[in-house]
Subunit: 407 residues, 2 copies
């Protein structure tokens, strides 16, 4: 008998609240996923909408709390770890240069667009413009990789470029945010910026090189471990270890989780680790997706100015990322370049975090906060159908290969 | 990029604290498990000791918090769900009567012993004696089933009796706690007691009967679901749904999770659900085990009286459960009766919860609280080696069967 049973019966209602909340989130997310699949829409869209519906904006069945936040974070950690498991280090080396070009263009153009728009729009400070630009920078690799996994296309060439570019623009996005907060704090700390940049780049390169070298050196020691499911537990310890290191040195935890997956990808082929990490991903990802929807406060959008500005920012966010990243991938041919551009559109939770930091520092107002929320959620919701559309050919040929038994 | 990265770099250290905490708990638990396996001790013992070492009592690296509590709860939920998946409804019917006898004796005798001891011991109130008795009642089915799974013996006859009896004594234990809190609150609410009893028994019987009837009726509808991993998600929704219902009507959430597993056991044989739910269990169980250790406050044991009383309570807790449950299973033959008695010894987290409620109602003092903590942790730590010992023959023959390829 756990805390829940005894306490629920006799003290507060909080403990069985956790089980009930998990049940409601999972049920709502999967019902919505099923409806979307039947309407030929990506399940991701349904799960975010499920979050909007059960969250404070509509039914108010569930309020975001520490436990749901932690499960949402585990969701994106496991998602990127699983994606990493399907990404060989050599694949990243192959696309590294192109992905860097895509990432840099995909950071610079949206930043300038967001900064420019709010600088020209009446009634907003320069620092608000900087924060809006920063919020438009980083792609939500979680959303895109979830959609691509769902289509069975995570290992196509365009997918690899998207994933690598999204990881790189996470690192650049962090530096942009560092500049924005330095300016908001009244001074630019170049030493701190340089340190983060050096650590971020060094860490990424080291793990990838290390990962591609040790491969089989990992297998034997793990086999000698005596506790059950040693490979899974070794992988989880590595995943959270690198995520914690990444987070401590100032990069996103998910970058560490992704790199842990990449480092293990070749050594663990053919083991049950892939099925196991997928189970962890399936359980936790609904919390990540639903949480994005739950954070939307519809009340912010009763003002005409917020609606107008949101519309302009959303259009800019979609077009700048699409065009800049497609240009960056132009040498791949027109169809793949468009795939890359579309895959980079969703901002997901990243923009929301930037806005929360700005709000916390009292340098952005409620209206810009609302605009960033709308931009993050709308780019998350519109991208998946387009991703499905531009990858339609690849999906058909992947299915054909599967049917003819060659996969 | 998630909340962790951005916030960690610029605001508080709390967000990357979560990743770091998960990493430390997993690493410490698995290192300790490895050491225990090499010393031929059960891994469970290592993981609880790891919790003591990294917790506030020794190194103070990790403090219990909402997120770790939730993961610990998920750990025992998934553990019981997975155990349920390996338990057919017909198996429970087969052992139901014997398990009821074992459970009732295993509740009555330890309660009388605990109540009697503290009534005779100088300086304690009658109500403290009632709470100590209540804390000695309920077996931690989580610990025992973890050890038996580790030995590959979860489906032996004695294991089935232990699991069924532990589920039944959870329900009875709840009623005992209800009586204790009613007395502490100044009155016995017979209506409330009757309601919980009726709901608990009705729910358990209904799910088991329903589960044994629907089996294959579940398979077809689930196959028609279109989102990915539909069977896993259906199973998780059922698991948390029944856990939430159990918790809301006043039984432990894990009883619902166990029954959900039982209901799905026959319909899901041969699917990947078993591997998937095991992955979820492996990830979360270390938090359940380490949390038990982390709750120990060594400072409470600087008093001679507490040490003496703890010793007496621990000896009584072990002997009464062992003897009463073995007597209840006497018709199974001496060896199996002893297996059942030993399997019922660990109290784990249950006693701790009872003590916390008593402390919260200000009806028990710090010394009795410390005594209950010691009893829970020591019974958890001493039982696994004994379980391993008394099941040694079964383990050998299970291994022999596995080697000769008949399993």
């Amino acid at each position: 008998m756990t805390v829940t049973g005894f306490q629920a019966a006799f003290t507060s209602s909080a403990p069985h609240g956790i089980l009930l909340a998990l049940f409601i989130v999972l049920l709502a997310a999967k019902l919505a996923a099923e409806i979307c699949e039947r309407l030929k829409q990506p399940a991701v869209v349904g799960e975010v909408i499920a979050g909007i519906i059960i969250g404070p904006s509509v039914l108010n069945l569930i309020q975001p709390n520490d436990v749901l936040e932690a499960l949402a974070e585990l969701g994106v950690i496991f998602l990127l770890f699983t994606v990493g498991l399907e990404t060989r280090p050599s694949d990243i080396f192959k696309v590294g240069r192109r992905a860097t070009v895509v990432a840099v263009l995909g950071v610079v153009v949206p930043f300038i667009a967001g900064f420019g728009l709010l600088s020209l729009w009446p009634g907003h400070s320069r620092i608000e413009a900087v924060f809006l630009g920063a919020a438009m920078v980083a792609t939500s690799v979680g959303i895109t990789s979830r959609v691509l996994s769902g289509l069975g296309l995570i290992s196509s060439e365009a997918s690899r470029v998207i994933l690598a570019a999204a990881v790189i623009d996470d690192v650049i996005g962090l530096l942009v945010l560092a500049v924005a907060t330095s300016i908001a704090g009244g001074r630019l700390n170049y030493f701190h910026l340089g340190l983060i940049a050096a650590l971020a780049i060094g860490f990424t390169v080291l793990v990838i090189i290390f990962g591609s070298r040790v491969e089989n050196r990992v297998k034997e020691p793990v086999k000698n471990l005596r506790f059950e499911h040693a490979l899974l537990m070794f992988a989880l310890v590595l995943c959270f270890g690198l995520a914690a290191v990444a987070s401590v040195i100032g990069i996103a935890g998910i970058v560490g989780a992704f790199l842990a997956g990449v480092a293990l990808s070749e050594a663990t082929e053919g083991t049950s680790l892939h099925v196991q990490s997928q189970a962890l991903t399936e359980f936790t990802t609904p919390f990540f997706l639903a949480m994005i929807g739950m954070k939307l406060h519809i009340g912010l959008f009763l003002s005409g100015e917020v609606i107008l500005l949101s519309g302009a920012v959303i259009v800019l966010a979609i077009l700048t990322k699409l065009i800049a990243c497609a240009l960056g991938a132009a040498t791949m041919g027109r169809r793949r370049a468009i795939q890359v551009g579309v895959g980079m559109i969703p901002r997901g939770e990243v923009g929301i975090v930037v806005a929360q930091i700005g709000l916390g520092m009292s340098v952005i107002g409620d209206s810009v906060y609302g605009v960033v929320l709308a931009m993050s959620i709308v780019t998350t919701l519109v991208a998946p159908p387009f991703i499905k559309l531009v990858f339609a050919n690849e999906k058909r040929s992947a299915e054909a290969r599967a049917d003819s038994g060659t996969v």
